[in-house]
């Protein structure tokens, strides 16, 4: 079967709007269709992956732990734009560690997070069949 290349492009901070939570839900639901899926995080979207989030003051359920399930759903490529991190005083060390287990490599644990620069991300976006924008 022809597998489409799908990218879920996340541009917004995790709380304050429903985009990030709904976008993640769509990724998890869409994972059932066995397509070639990746996610990208640009602009305030990089905050979605920031470690140590506490939503208790917001009265909202934290959905950060759900990102850790992405590997189980075979979503194993999360591209984070380097410039967006730098513009916000962040680097890869500020992000949640997210991993997946490679069944073809004796279940070796590998990082799902790939920090890429803007030019590389542009190429990746260009290479997709479909880009979902959240």
């Amino acid at each position: 079967m022809f597998r489409k290349k799908l990218m879920y492009l996340n541009r917004r901070a995790p709380y304050g709007t429903i985009y990030a939570a709904e976008g993640l839900e769509v990724v998890l639901i869409g994972a059932a269709f066995d397509q070639d899926v990746c996610m990208a995080f640009v602009g305030d979207g990089v905050y979605q992956l920031k470690a140590g989030q506490d939503t208790s003051g917001l009265g909202l359920k934290s959905f950060s732990p759900a990102y850790r399930a992405l590997g189980d759903y075979d979503v194993t490529r999360l591209y984070v734009e380097r410039e967006s991190l730098e513009e916000r005083g962040l680097d890869a060390g500020d992000l949640m560690p997210l991993t997946w287990e490679d069944e073809d490599d004796d279940w070796a644990e590998k990082s799902s997070i790939h920090v890429v620069d803007r030019a590389e991300l542009t190429r990746l976006i260009d290479a997709q069949d479909v880009v979902f924008n959240f």
């Binding site: 998890l28 639901i29 994972a31 959905f63 732990p65 759900a66 850790r68 399930a69 189980d72 759903y73």
Partner: protein, 110 residues
């Protein structure tokens, strides 16, 4: 819809899933199983308890494919397959067991 447990009334959604996760107690699973004419064995409870700890960790109810793989890793290959899980939960292992476990309907079950 609602469920009567130990003199309390617990709200459920239109498909019978608990409205409030914190309402869950083991009797919830018993009462739901009785109305499905399903006898809960230790093997059933193993899946229910697995789902509850999965939800605790990831805050989502796993899709059936993910559940099957994760059970296989945790409890062994003889349990991590569709045949075994469908024997326990003929209405769909993720959907039915998540309901008994007090979880929402699985994310990614279509």
């Amino acid at each position: 819809m609602a469920l009567q447990i130990n003199g309390k009334t617990l709200d459920t959604d239109e498909e019978g899933y608990l409205a409030n996760l914190s309402d869950w107690e083991p009797e919830v699973a018993q009462v739901m199983a009785e109305s499905d004419e399903c006898d809960l064995t230790d093997n059933h409870w193993e899946v229910i308890n697995f789902l509850r700890s999965y939800y605790e960790e990831y805050q989502i109810a796993p899709a059936v494919r993910v559940l099957t793989k994760a059970i296989g890793k945790k409890l062994g290959k003889d349990k991590g397959n569709s045949k075994y899980l469908y024997q326990l939960y003929p209405y769909g292992p993720a959907k039915q067991a998540c309901r008994y476990a007090g979880l929402p309907k699985p994310t990614g079950c279509v």
